[in-house]
Symmetry: C4
Subunit: 276 residues, 4 copies
């Protein structure tokens, strides 16, 4: 994966996940606040549950595709781990990436199970998310032996975002549904996504001219750049949150001409009972 | 900004902000405690909101002026960032300072929006404050490559105050209105202000004779000096808090001869309704 | 203890403790949830107390046996600590291991006292557990002077699990009975157990061929391996928890033909009174 | 203060403070639990307040005596700080110790003010205690430039106890009156006291023969020794707590023949009113 594409791909993924989460939480929060305006259908627990399950299924899909791609792509290990001829571990990078995907897949699988059965407390899904991000950060942390100064520095900055998400998700185990923590998590996920793109541009510049890996000026510029990514992601998340909130409020005040929901009152009653 | 004035300016700013916050919180806390004595006008939410908005507007103003001054002063970058002749980043210091101001400006802008609209939870203002201080500390942290020992040491001590404020502000997201956390934040902001002055005196002594940058005695003296700054700031904050509290209590027990408030009962009623 | 057996023994111990805790908490949680189905006997406080006392007695036994084995085994110190002939401390390893056992023994002793008398708050048992694990981690931390890189690395990874358990146990002082924290603790204890086995295999490979202690590939493989241990332990804990929960629910819905409990109603009443 | 006596003195002080706190909290907790047995006089708020004020006055006294002793003893600085002949800071050690005493004195002064007036929340006393210990740890942290390995190590171990007390005191700001945190604080204070003695014995052995400052064996023994101090202090605190609890309960069940309290019912009523 040591290539521009190898950084742009996860970058795009985390960027989209961050946006999706922002939209989801803005929607849930707005409908919860405007319950008296008749928005209970969107905010009902059954809908939320279906949303979570759908999201998790997509994550599982991506995770499985990612693992298969790492293992069976052109230069992949095809499940070989030890090169017994040269007596050393082979394809360690691919295996590490597979392990990261595995943990995200596990977290999504647990979320599906939690939201379809009733055996265990729901808050475990945030714990699994925290573990998945901690694991990603942990593997990145011991990933940097013997690289150049700038390379190490950009990856260290990435770790702030990764461990940030992990810590926020761990706090959410105790403060579930706190919109501030949720938005902070969205924000840091968007930063992680855009920063992956930045790493790609710095280490594998598509235009050609390589960056001087030891220049202190480059290090300081990159640090400042990270602040700009953070400001940009806060802006994006704030705009998306505001747009969604306004949209929900506008639609609730001006309901669509034919209220589809009225055609199936039974299902809705079942849901609102469940909600109690 | 590598000059005495460049440290005295932010120092004075943070010092005054610390004092202003102390006064504000002492006033709010004292009026909240003495509500039964008829002080509800000061403590009403509308007044608080106006206070927050006014404070934030001043911060936005300072932040914009700061950015413009950094960019367009005598030797400023005038929005140039990359020196394509010598192939290196130019004016990094000015850009870093602009970035710091930008984040304080952002925090203040968000505060204004939060207190004038009703779309999002108010506690986000403390989160933005925490992010602004974290960002300041983060940029300072990677600001010190290749400086002398004493220079690094005085800036590291500054980081304690900066990250201290950031952590306290982050705690306030969950414990909003806790007077102890608020006073601690005031205290650490005052320390940050006076310590900027101290840095100016140590690195750019106005009187002449430079400090020996490698003397262990100087390092140990500076460390102790930091403790004294802390004790001094606690004293200042305590005195200001006591004075304000006593002032409020005294004025409430001896109301002014003509009760101006009685002349406009309508506005007051509106406020007290809002308060409920 | 510098041998394969010396790592396999504590490994097996922690592995079994992790499984035992998982079963215990799954049982308690399942009976608490299904109280209305008539499971109050299992969940009564007296039963819980007996369980805790029994568990602690086993831990005390193991701890005493461990200390005696360290002291009086073939090459043990037999309570000698200072070699006054050669003027240095002798048998430091054995004494360090004895100290670790001592703290686990202390924690268990305190638990027995807390659950049989009523003088002090019960939550102290979690504090003592946290102290015992902190102490274990603390001694390991200063245990690694002058070892080879891989040796230090595998022990550092062990410290994550040890301090993880300590932190979770410390959080439980404030959030007693939180099933998520309890399962996290079980998980990390199982990781600690399996990782002790892994250390044994890496440092004292039973098959022969030693690992290259300085190869970066080995370091990265071991790091990834730690993730796999974590995933494996989460799987084990999840399966055991699910099996126990289902078992309890199944048995409560299909009670045994002869309800033994009905034969001694007095004891049960006493318990349910106590429960109030 | 670089002498055996210079470490034994603060050691004895912290040891006694730890014991005194244990006794105080055991007494308060026992009387609070046995309120229905008629012990309300001991647990009344006025008595507690008087206790706190008395304790703080003693601390202020010690702190003032300590500062005066440091400044005006045989080789003290007599308020001189800068040696303008040799152009370096003089008597830095004495000034650092004075600063430490100053912070403890400040904390005690604030406690007296808080418990005699009513202007500010009482929890500030714990914050000031936390600040005093943080300051002590902070000065010790930058106190160790250019010392030998063993010297640095024993002082680093001391820092665990100091910062431990500071963190626990900071937590008590939010969880005031939590007996577990209080006992943990007592425990760590006792460790700090006994460890000061240990440092005295290691660095200035009264018997003669100096310790080898670079021997790894010595380092590992000292680390283990720290665990033993912790175990010992937990034992002491537990015994003292149990003895006090039992004593209170025994005395309440067997009241003294002449109930002195009955002779002044007015004062008692005033107190119990205040308590409400």
């Amino acid at each position: 994966m040591g290539s521009f594409k190898g950084h742009a791909l996860p970058g795009s993924f985390f960027f989209l996940v961050g946006l999706w989460w922002t939209g989801k939480y803005a929607l849930l929060h707005a409908t919860r606040r405007n319950k008296n305006l008749g928005s209970f259908r969107l905010a009902s627990r059954a809908t939320q549950r279906r949303l979570e399950v759908a999201e998790s299924c997509v994550v599982i899909l991506f995770s499985v595709v990612g693992i298969l791609a790492e293992q069976f792509a052109a230069n992949g290990p095809r499940l070989h781990l030890y090169d017994s001829v040269e007596k050393h571990w082979a394809f360690l990078m691919n295996w590490q990436h597979s392990t990261m995907y595995l943990f995200f897949g596990l977290a999504a699988t647990v979320t599906v199970i939690l939201h379809t059965t009733e055996g265990a407390p729901v808050a475990i899904d945030r714990l699994m998310l925290a573990v998945a991000f901690f694991n990603e950060g942990f593997l990145f942390l011991y990933h940097l032996h013997g690289r150049s100064a700038l390379d190490v520095h950009v990856h260290q900055l990435l770790l702030y975002a990764i461990f940030g998400v992990a810590i926020v998700a761990a706090l959410e185990v105790f403060q579930r549904g706190n919109i501030i923590l949720e938005l902070l998590r969205c924000c840091l996920t968007v930063v992680q996504g855009t920063w992956f793109w930045q790493i790609g541009f710095v280490l594998y510049p598509p235009g050609g001219a390589d960056w001087d890996q030891k220049d202190v000026g480059n290090m300081m510029f990159i640090t400042m750049c990270y602040s700009w990514h953070l400001a940009f992601s806060m802006l994006i998340v704030a705009l998306l949150y505001s747009a969604t909130s306004c949209g929900v409020r506008f639609r609730l005040k001006n309901p669509p001409p034919m209220e589809m929901g009225l055609l199936k009152p039974r299902g809705r009653e079942a849901e609102s009972e469940e909600e109690i």
